[in-house]
Every structure is written in structure tokens, then in C-alpha cells.
């Protein structure tokens, strides 16, 4: 017991490390499952980055649609990334974070377009913001903030 108290800092660190790992990977797995499922549902709604041109009389309506998501990193991954900073190379833990944020933002945009009855979204663009500031700094909230926007096209039947 005394040893535990003497190394309280280390104990807290390890505890956070384990909590971060368990809940972080659980949350990530759940998120990926939901992303894949919703992506499959919305597969019919095409999203392209190109600017399409349409013959006159084919388009009924067009509107800007957008979606955003802020995903934060967990304690475990943050430590991993800090370690990775020493040796350099791929920071896998951040890659999955960015991937999740972007895909979630695109999905939310698609959901909005789907609600409006759109058949496709053209000229999709992605943008990132920084509210939580740099993900790798101490006392900063490590988060990725993605915005996706595009023009939803409702076709004439």
C-alpha cells in the first residue's frame, strides 16, 4: 500500500493509460461499425468532388449542404503519438482519428442531402478547424475538427 502511495503519480498515469486504451479502442470500434453501416445505407447517394454540368430542365433544386464532426484522441493514443514523435514515422493513432472525423463529417453532409431528397452532391470540399488547438500539446485538447460541404442536387423526375 505504501509503495502505491509513494508512486501515486505513476499509478495515476497507468490508470489513465489503461482507461484510455480500453474505452478509446472500444469507442473507436463502435464508431467504425456505425460509419461503415451508414456508409452502406447511403451508398446510392453519389458524392463527387467534380463540378457537374447539367442539361437545362433536369435540375429541380440545388442547395448547400454541410456536415461537421469533432473527434478527440484518447489518453493512450496521445502517449503513443508523443513517443512516436521521438523516432518519427507514421503516427497510426492520429491517422485513424483524422479518417474517422472526415468520414463522419461527409456522412452527416450526406444525411442532410438525403433528407432534402437529393440524388447527388457535387463539388464536395473538406475543411478542418482548430478549436481544441494542436493535438499534441500538453494541456490542450487533442481533437480533429472536420467540415464537409457541397452542393446537393435535386433532380426533376
Amino acid at each position: 500500500m505504501e509503495i502505491l502511495l509513494e508512486n501515486l503519480n505513476l499509478v495515476i498515469f497507468l490508470l489513465l493509460f489503461i482507461i484510455g486504451y480500453t474505452f478509446g479502442s472500444l469507442a473507436e470500434k463502435r464508431h467504425y461499425r456505425s460509419i461503415i453501416q451508414r456508409e452502406a445505407e447511403l451508398l446510392k447517394l453519389a458524392v463527387v468532388t467534380a463540378e457537374g454540368s447539367f442539361p437545362a430542365g433536369q435540375v429541380k433544386e440545388s442547395a448547400l449542404v454541410s456536415g461537421s464532426a469533432v473527434i478527440s484522441i484518447d489518453y493512450f493514443k496521445r502517449i503513443l503519438a508523443t513517443l512516436r514523435n521521438i523516432f518519427g514515422g507514421r503516427v497510426k493513432s492520429y491517422e485513424s482519428l483524422v479518417d474517422r472525423a472526415r468520414r463522419e463529417a461527409i456522412l452527416r453532409m450526406k444525411e442532410q442531402a438525403h433528407k432534402q431528397g437529393a440524388k447527388m452532391v457535387i463539388n464536395m470540399r473538406l475543411e478542418t478547424a482548430t478549436i481544441g488547438r494542436n493535438a499534441n500539446q500538453k494541456k490542450q485538447i487533442g481533437s480533429i475538427e472536420a467540415i464537409a460541404y457541397g452542393t446537393a442536387i435535386v433532380m426533376n423526375k
Binding site: L16, I19, G20, F23, G24, A27, E28, H31, E51, G52, S53, F54, A56, G57, Q58, V59, K60, E61, S62, A63, L64, S66, S68, A69, V70, I71, S72, I73, D74, Y75, K77, E104, I122, N123, R125, E127, T128, A129, T130, I131, G132, R133, I141, G142, S143, E145, I147, Y149, G150, T151, I153
Partner: protein
């Protein structure tokens, strides 16, 4: 007001250009949200408070841009772009700009 981020309003013809319109907003998160985000940061996952903040600021920026376009007598804004910058720590600027036009 029709908003698109392509060069034209698909299916409609542009009859008049008014030039650039813009709207921006700088938002900071409040301490409570910051604290919650800090806790959430341990386990990872979505920061709902920040997502909301981002959504609100995007809508606000677009609304300001729309107001400006309306003042000019436009009924559509084309080629909208979003940009972000970090003016101060903990605050985010969201910036929307586009070309105000009148369509048939």
C-alpha cells in the same frame, strides 16, 4: 436565397453579378465545455459540445453572408467557400465567402 458551392446555380441562368460577399464569426468555447472536453479527452470519441460550436459558427457565418447578399439585391450566392483560422487560443474563426448573383 439559393446557396451553392459550384460556379453556377445548376438548372438556372445567372443574369447579374454583384461581386464578393462574406461573413465571418469568431467563437470561443466556454469553460464548462472546455472542462467536459478535457474529461472526454481521456477516453476519446466525439466532442459533442465542439461539434455544436462548429455548427453554430458555420450557420452564423453563412447567415451574415446571406444578409450581405440580400442587401445587394441578390437572390443567390454561388461558389461558396469555407475557411478557418485560429485568431486567439481557444477561439476559432469561421469564414464563408462567395459571389452574389441574381438568377432568373
Amino acid at each position: 436565397m439559393i446557396m451553392t458551392n459550384v460556379n453556377t446555380v445548376p438548372g438556372k441562368k445567372i443574369v447579374e453579378h454583384f461581386g464578393i460577399v462574406q461573413g465571418s464569426t469568431v467563437r470561443a468555447k466556454h469553460v464548462g465545455r472546455d472542462f467536459m472536453a478535457g474529461l472526454k479527452n481521456l477516453v476519446g470519441g466525439e466532442l459533442k459540445g465542439y461539434t455544436e460550436l462548429l455548427q453554430d459558427s458555420r450557420q452564423e457565418a453563412m447567415k451574415r453572408m446571406e444578409d450581405q447578399a440580400r442587401q445587394m439585391g441578390a437572390n443567390a450566392v454561388v461558389n461558396i467557400r469555407f475557411a478557418t483560422s485560429s485568431v486567439a487560443q481557444g477561439a476559432a474563426e469561421l469564414f464563408a465567402y462567395g459571389t452574389a448573383v441574381r438568377v432568373e
